[in-house]
Amino acid sequence: MTKTEWVGADVIRIDAKDKVRGVLKYMSDLSFPNMIYGAVLRSKHPHALIKKINTKRAKELDGVVTVLTHEDVPGLNGFGIAIPDQPVLCSDKVRYMGDAIALVGAESKEIAERALELIEVEYQPLPVVCDPEQAMLSSSPKVHETGNLHNHVKIERGNVEAAFKEAQVVVENTYFTPRQMHAFLEPESGVAAIDEDKNITIWCGGQHPYRDQLQVARALGMNPRKIRIVNTPTGGAFGGKDEITVQIHLALLVLHTGRPAKIVLSREESVIAGMKRHPMRIHMKTAAAADGTILANEARVVSDTGAYASLGGPVIGFAIEHSCGAYRVENVKLEGFCVYTNNGVAGAFRGFGANQVTFAVETQLDMIAEKLGMDKLEIRKRNALRSGDIAALGHQMEASVGLLRTLEAAENSRLWQLKEEFKAKPSAPHKKRGIGIACSFQGCGLGKGLPDYGAASVELLPNGQFAIGVSCPEIGQGNTTAFAQMAADYIRCSVDDIVVLSGDTGHTLDSGTSTASRSIYTGGNALKHAVQNLHNAISPIAAEILCVPEDDISFGHGKIVSKSCPDKILSFKDIAEYITARGLSIKSEGHFIWPVSETELEGYVGIPHLLYSYITQIALVEVNTLTGETEVIEAVSVPDPGKAINPQGVEGQSEGGVVMGMGYALTEDTIIKEGMTLTRNFSTYILPTSLDMPCKIETIIAEELEPSGPFGAKGIGEAVCVPISPAITNAIHDAVKVWIKQIPATPERVYTALKSREVS
């Protein structure tokens, strides 16, 4: 590959200036003349039948423009990425406190909210289903008529029982993980408008504009082409805006009133109605030989998807795929259950099921290492997947496998090399320090059986610059900057001459989701094809101008040069002016379909993956033995993103990921009791603040280039937040010798564990 000029450089984010200055308009900042404000009536019960809905009094209120119910949904009254089991507006039953029953459009937000109070709903409360284990019993009340078990995954290979018998060490534990909140800064919100021909445009934070378009079209019973979705810029998503949020409600308001409409959820409403990470209960039994080789892993994972499916099905599959860690395990017995309850809704969230099982398996590994007296890093090296290995689901690791590279870089980090010194000097006598390590891998793309595709466009503008279009939205991760860098190197022009169009069904081709650590890989590959087509379109024109044969044309450093006669040079501007003068234009498209694993697991879609990113993370913690508080002092994060298109961007992802995984390990949990959310805003839902961040997060990028990736890139958005959580809990054990089996490791839990250790 030729040397790159922009890829691999710390190019400043193209949206940085506007974001830092507060100039950038997010969707909730947009307003239109004559706009109405929407508000949603949510359920008063976590589980109930609806007997009657009366909107008469609300409609009579001054300033109310419309009050809509299920009767006003012209198409399918349901949405859901996998199955449309969530009503747009409930008609006969509510299944969680966030269920929408009616939709008010009014002249002001205040009037809309007052109107909600005037809507009368008669309920017949039903018993609340709040424990997923209980929910699976035949005696349990049903959340859905089809039963409470939404998805069941079972994978068996080899013979675990035999392995357990011959093993030197067997550890068996039950782990519990919390309902983490995405906590994006911009809550679910957007605006919409409709024209005379009933074409609807929706500006709304989201992660896949083309799928939003189809979901809206399905609910409205409309031709998808009449609906335009704009998702960029989104004020944070992390998977929580993968599913429909307010798009269909916005569309209904503009359709029924003909006026522009705006909906912005309050934080409390976002917390109650929005997606969360699946809480899981994981029972795991792991066996190892005397040399630390993992012989078998058995796991039973129960996942609480709440009231509706969304992506709960694929999440449990993904969890099972990742439940043996990034290690070779020949004997596995893995079973996952995705269960409906009345506990909110859970869906996609950065990590997509890997976070929960990685916490379990990485703790198991540390326990085994301790029993065998092995070094914690050594045991991971011994079992680490290598290229060509067979992974837990029986599929071969065909693509780039960088785990060992990340482990070696982690081993050489200052924190690991000097770990005894770091641990030796706690800040007070009652505080103890420990260091923990953990690894993980993260399937990139949608996985086997879910064709993953993406397109991109590139257009030569009249001024000689280029407009590139990729519909994967900018959700804060920095993909637009990376697209610009890759395009500039493919085109051979300056990154400053690239204009990026993003996340807009009106102006960009369908590139798929900004999820699954896939947008750089997909967008980059599609851009590569698009630029090939662009060069093919420019070459004959350049040849014509320079009076040389077409195959004599080459592209380099913002120039088009004759190979045989290097003083014959054109700029892209020359080409632009030439074609503009002739009324022509050059716009090329590139289309890309993901390669998939050869292995097919009968009956499952989405697993296994072909491509994985890998990561090792280390945490240094200090535990206060008097209060049970844990402070993360330093962290080392060693991701293998394939080629780092923008190293500073990878560092940003890495640091953000460490802090998100730290919150997951130590403080964050959305507490729901009897279907009622208790932690309704950020005063009780404890996100880390800037003062809680580790003093230092060192990111060491360990690039294992992926041959099929653009410039060797894979994806890194998710993996960075995964192993840090067990690295922290393993560090707690290193410090105070208690195993954390339930996260978050709150001061109470750590303190209680410390006390029971003292007693025993």
Binding site: G221, G239, L450, P451, I593
Partner: protein, 75 residues
């Protein structure tokens, strides 16, 4: 003309094979193909013709590769 059809995921239920060739009259649109396959949910569907996203009213060409799938997501 002949088109090559590939059905994915839930779409497989419409045919006993997931990859097959179909003979259609010249100028047939995608809608004609969907009719032929008796595909019901015509809105929430993703179709790629030669790798490019297409909608129902678009014409098919000879030897086109048509991928039909349900929109999805994942990690």
């Amino acid at each position: 003309m002949k088109v090559n059809v590939c059905l994915f995921g839930p779409m497989r239920k419409y045919r006993d094979k997931d990859k097959f060739q179909l003979e259609l009259e010249e100028g047939a649109t995608l809608a004609r193909l969907l009719d032929h396959l008796k595909i019901e949910d015509r809105i929430y569907i993703v179709i790629l013709i030669n790798g490019r996203r297409a909608y129902e009213d678009e014409p098919l060409s000879d030897d086109a590769e048509v991928l039909i799938m349900a929109p999805t997501g994942g990690g």
